[in-house]
Amino acid sequence: MLMSIKVRYFASLKESVGRSEDNLVFTGLSTVIDVWNRANPGRSLPANILAAVNMNYVELDNKVDDGDEVAFFPPVTGG
């Protein structure tokens, strides 16, 4: 199955990966951590980073589907 996934990065993570988004296209089923690894080969996910799929918080082993938006970001500091 062909998967088209938008990956987004925010705040200090955006600065450390050096970009705000990726558009990945690949075949086969995948999880959130697989998406990170495909988008950032050789760079392990930093500690404490949170993940969201389609703007809902998820665990790293959450499945992703074609068309999903996957986001990675550090702990939030609003308010």
Binding site: F10, A11, N56, P74, V76, T77, G78
Partner: protein, 150 residues
């Protein structure tokens, strides 16, 4: 109920007055209003701060705020709620966040207002980067528990 993300300076008292003028329906039932306003300080963790940039995740931020408000409405008999949050470049003294909760009784108002601001600080995707008077920039790493331990 309203959620607003502001890219420019906002006056929290004007926001509340405007909101109440536009939504006069429940005034006879309201007995208690609990309002929290978070303002940018000119110091943090021992350093003088001269400015701040607030980043957010458009779409997800509003979605998470709506979830938090829905949870508050499930737990307390809330009549109405207004949440306003600033993004962009902020100066000391400027409002960062406003949470207003209207209920019939005061305990419900305080509890729901505090729940919303605590949940916002732990779940709503906003990130602060501070500009120190030394010209250093730094990302705020984590929100504190909300008490002065100094």
């Amino acid at each position: 109920m309203a959620i607003k993300i502001c890219a420019d300076v906002f006056d929290p008292y004007v926001e509340i007055q405007d909101y109440q003028n536009e939504n006069p329906g429940n005034s006879g039932a309201v007995g208690a209003s609990s309002i929290f306003i978070g303002t940018m300080r000119d110091f943090n963790e021992g350093d003088a701060v001269k400015g701040m940039t607030l980043e957010y995740y458009p779409g997800m931020t509003e979605k998470q705020l709506a979830k938090i408000i829905a949870e508050a409405q499930q737990q307390w008999p809330v009549i109405d709620t207004l949440v306003v949050h600033r993004v962009g470049d902020i100066l000391p003294g400027h409002a960062i966040v406003l949470v207003a909760v209207w209920t019939s009784h005061r305990g419900d108002a305080f509890d729901a207002c505090r729940f919303i601001i605590d949940a916002l600080k732990s779940k709503a995707p906003f990130w602060k980067k501070e500009l120190l008077t030394s010209e250093d920039e730094r990302w705020v790493v984590a929100n504190t528990d909300g008490y002065n331990r100094g």
